[in-house]
């Protein structure tokens, strides 16, 4: 394992108490430091392959049909140096009826001029279930550009749940795009939770296509901004089949000179589909503040409680 890879893992272990499980031979994992594939581990029923292809690290994780993966599959990617680029392509496939949890750790603790691009393709066959969590740890400098783009196909009666969270350190420049297509009877829940401060700029584009009969989906976005941070959140849900049900729930909390914009797009092309949305952009709710202060919390502590809760 490369020296930087060790640093990356050491940070991971310090950050997440349960990350030690990554060392277990019973845990499937991929570790990528910068443009180097540090480590990969497959387990019965889960194949893990990594390679370098035209300057891009490609990681492929395949869960065989019917396999229920006991330990979460981990991916750990990051750059420990202040400067560097990382280009990743991740392909995840779950066979029919397979079930797994995939935890992705993205670590850029010292970033001053770092660029991380990731293209992900996730395919869930019929009846498969994937719980995907992507957590970012950024440093205090705001010098990181994060561009994750993912395309997800949720098969018939399959379930997909994702949770992207970037709440440690300065977000930097974030351009997140996700397109999730849900087949008949499938369910998709996409959540993004991001905190921005300083001059951070956050752009989110989530598109949910409820293509199959009785497909269901939720886009949930929580963004908390302070200082001069900016955010644009675009949520699109398309109801294209009978019984399709979708909802978008976007909340952006702004303080100081921060600026936020939320745009929910409801696109229904079948008379028996239904898509709803709620969006709120504003400062900290005064009644919430008063309530917490009536418990003796200072205004600053009260704001912390509200923001932390929103991003939890």
């Amino acid at each position: 394992m490369a020296e930087n890879g060790n640093e990356l893992l050491a940070l991971l272990f310090r950050t997440y108490a349960d990350a030690a499980i990554l060392s277990s031979p019973e845990t499937a994992h991929v570790v990528v430091d910068g443009q180097s594939l540090v480590s990969a581990n497959a387990i019965p029923g889960v194949s893990v392959a990594g390679r370098r292809e035209d300057g891009v690290i490609v990681a492929e994780i395949v869960v065989a049909p019917g396999v229920e993966v006991r330990n979460p599959i981990h991916t750990c990617v990051g750059i420990m140096q202040p400067e560097g680029d990382q280009h990743l392509r991740m392909v995840v496939r779950l066979g029919e009826g397979a079930r797994a949890r995939l935890v992705s750790h993205c670590l850029f603790p010292n970033a001053r001029r770092v660029r991380h691009e990731m293209e992900a393709r996730l395919d869930l066959a019929a009846g498969a279930e994937l719980d995907y969590s992507e957590g970012h740890v950024h440093g205090p400098y705001g010098g990181v550009t994060v561009i994750p783009r993912s395309v997800v196909r949720v098969g018939p009666a399959a379930r997909f749940r994702s949770d992207f969270h970037l709440i440690q350190g300065r977000a930097g420049e974030v351009a997140l795009e996700a397109r999730v297509e849900v087949a008949e009877g499938g369910v998709a829940e996409i959540t993004a939770r991001i905190a921005g401060s300083g001059s951070d700029h956050i752009s989110l584009r989530d598109e949910l296509v409820l293509a199959g009969r009785d497909a269901r989906g939720l886009i949930k976005t929580r963004v908390a901004l302070s200082d001069a941070a900016r955010a644009e959140v675009l949520g699109i849900t398309r109801g294209q089949a009978a019984g399709a049900r979708g909802h978008m729930d976007c909340m952006e909390l702004v303080r100081d000179h921060a600026v936020a914009r939320a745009e929910p797009v409801v696109d229904v092309s079948h008379p028996l589909a239904k898509v709803t949305h709620e969006a709120a952009v504003g400062t900290v709710d005064q009644k919430q503040l008063d309530t917490l202060m009536a418990h003796g919390l200072s205004p600053e502590a009260a704001v912390d409680v509200i923001v932390t809760g929103l991003l939890r």
């Binding site: 009644k287 919430q288 008063d290 309530t291 009536a294 418990h295 003796g296 009260a302 809760g309 939890r312």
Partner: protein
Amino acid sequence: MTELLQIDGLSFTVAGRAILDSVDLALEAGEIHVLLGANGTGKTTLANLVMGCSGYQPTAGTIRFRGRPIDGLPIHERARLGITLTWQEPARFEGLKVRDYLTLGEDPGDPAAWLERVGLAADAYLDRAVDKTLSGGERKRIELASALALRPRLAILDEPGAGIDLLSIDEIVGLIRDLRRPDAAVLLITHQQELAQVADRASYLCGGRILATGKPERIAEAYRRRPCKVCDGEVCRG
């Protein structure tokens, strides 16, 4: 008994309209004092002024707590002196667990015990969020639990029984009695006769003024017999 809260000549005007007009009110330690009055007569405004809520600065008059003027103090400093307020419609907090909400104050004790005291099973509620998934009645009970946890010297309860089923009124009465201690008082705002009966004294607020203070039965009777459904006729001359 010792005077805990002293309000003298308190007025509050919004856009030229007097919401409170020279209100005088005193609460003694160990007392449960109920504030009666029709909707829109200024009861909640008075509660917000005593707590020091945002946007509530008296136009005239003084509020003293344990002999000390508190008009200029922000809400959290009043809270640290021992004042708290439970809202008629309590705020909800996404991601804030009941367990954490009940331990916000200093030396909060066991949150499970406070939940059980308000009739909620600790196992079922401690890890739930204080958010919109709670019913109105559940949220009110949690608000009362948080008041118990704070052990305030002055608990202002704004319609604590609203949204809670009638069968539970006896429980609420018990909770209000718990909040009254020899060195602590309760200012109760309610429209519910059953709750008002727990008070030692009552004041009748109408048109932004305290018209009478005395035994709860007498004040409640005067309130019931008022000639006008909104006030006692003195304000609208109905």
